[in-house]
């Protein structure tokens, strides 16, 4: 190994980021080359010096402030939830909650994201776990007053992995779960009711991408952390199926 190559790898060597072969090569070279050994020694001295630099710990007042705002943040969230609940109750039956754009839509969107997050965090993705649409679809029979369309989209790169019951906008809905690489896509399906909206809605809520559309009298909300373009692809594939 030449001195130039060793010089190139010296930092990675010190940082233990070299693979075993490169590591051995550097070590062997340094063992025989005084100039490189000096270089290495200087870098080691520098590393020791840098680690003697001051470590700035968070002041107590900052810690207290962060803790306080974490608590008030959660109180605000509870209030938001309470407000949403009041809104849902006051809107009452017979009115569609699914039209986005209005604040009702925001409540739904928030519900959709919460449903998605809950399914991932509580590890409750499935009531029925199957990649077979002919297993998933009948599972919903008798559990809902409608029959959600269930299709596997593996050929488009979105594998059906299961389904479960969930609640969105205060009503039970079918949640279908798809997988894109390591990412989970939840789709909440329910009857569109009188919702005349046919236009596609694209939203981002708390870092998650959302798509809403109406198809064959059904309302769909898709939510995931896959990027917006991919979720669009997914929506297109689902509507084409």
């Amino acid at each position: 190994m030449s001195c130039e190559l060793v010089e190139r790898d010296l930092d990675a060597y010190l940082d233990r980021e070299l693979d075993a072969a490169a590591l051995t090569a550097v070590r062997e070279h340094v063992g025989t080359c005084a100039a490189c050994r000096r270089q290495l020694a200087q870098r080691e001295t520098l590393a020791r010096l840098v680690r003697s630099a001051p470590y700035y710990s968070a002041p107590d007042r900052l810690r207290a402030r962060v803790r306080a705002s974490s608590q008030s943040h959660s109180v605000r969230r509870v209030l938001t939830w309470a407000a949403a609940a009041v809104l849902v109750l006051s809107v009452g039956a017979g009115m569609t909650l699914w039209r986005p754009g209005a604040s009702r839509g925001d409540v739904i969107a928030d519900d959709v994201v919460n449903g998605h997050v809950r399914s991932l965090m509580a590890n409750h993705l499935f009531d029925v776990q199957s990649t077979d649409q002919h297993t998933v679809k009948p599972w919903f029979l008798g559990k809902l007053d409608f029959s959600p369309p269930v299709v596997d989209l593996t050929s488009s790169g979105f594998a059906l992995v299961g389904g479960r019951l969930d609640y969105v906008g205060g009503r039970p809905v079918a949640a279908l779960v798809y997988q894109r690489r390591k990412h989970t896509i939840n789709v909440f399906v329910s009857p569109a009711g009188g919702d005349p909206s046919t236009s596609n809605v694209v939203l981002t809520v708390r870092g998650f991408n959302l798509r809403h559309w109406i198809h064959n009298g059904m309302s769909f909300w898709a939510v995931s952390d896959v990027n917006s373009a991919e979720l669009g692809e997914f929506a297109t594939a689902l509507q084409a199926s």
Partner: protein, 167 residues
């Protein structure tokens, strides 16, 4: 979101977040503001924390909080050209005639991208991959920043002479 979960996950890394912010801003008050901002963002996006590495995740948020403050043109300087005042003050410099002061002044003179790489690597012990994720750059960039940062530090600290005296 349950505050307990946030507090248990994020608060343990508050020192690391503050240390990182303090090195970015080179100023106690700005660092506090940046970390406070970052924690509010972290609460909002807490549900997007996927993996276990809350610390690197928090670094990324601290970094974004700092950069958006810089972009807003607040009193924060971008740390690129300006030297910290104390590096130019002869009296202060006299007071810093000990190793820790020298090292601190040397680090503060580095361009912010270099300083960040050094702090995350040497002080926080992040891997190249983690630094790349926090800084939003390829691993190759991290490697060249670290190498160039160390070259500069060696020059600033006149390490040849210094390592002799330390021996």
């Amino acid at each position: 979101m349950r505050p307990r979960v946030f507090e248990e996950t994020v608060l343990p890394h508050l020192d690391a977040a503050f240390n990182y912010a303090r090195w970015l801003t080179r100023n106690e008050a700005d660092a506090e503001d940046v970390v406070q901002d970052a924690c509010v963002r972290a609460m909002r996006f807490f549900s997007s924390l996927r993996d276990d590495d809350a610390r690197a995740w928090l670094f990324t948020i601290v970094r974004n909080a700092w950069y958006s403050r810089v972009a807003e043109g607040t009193r924060l300087n971008d740390g690129q050209d300006q030297r910290p005042d104390n590096a130019l003050d002869p009296e202060e410099r006299l007071l810093q005639q000990h190793t820790v002061g020298l090292v601190r002044a040397a680090l503060e003179q580095l361009p912010v991208d270099f300083r960040e790489a050094i702090v995350l690597r040497e002080i926080e012990g992040l891997s190249y991959r983690e630094i790349a994720e926090v800084a939003g750059v390829p691993i190759g960039t991290v490697m060249s920043r670290l190498a160039r940062a160390r070259e500069r530090l060696q020059t600033i600290l006149k390490l040849n002479a210094l390592s002799e005296t330390l021996r």
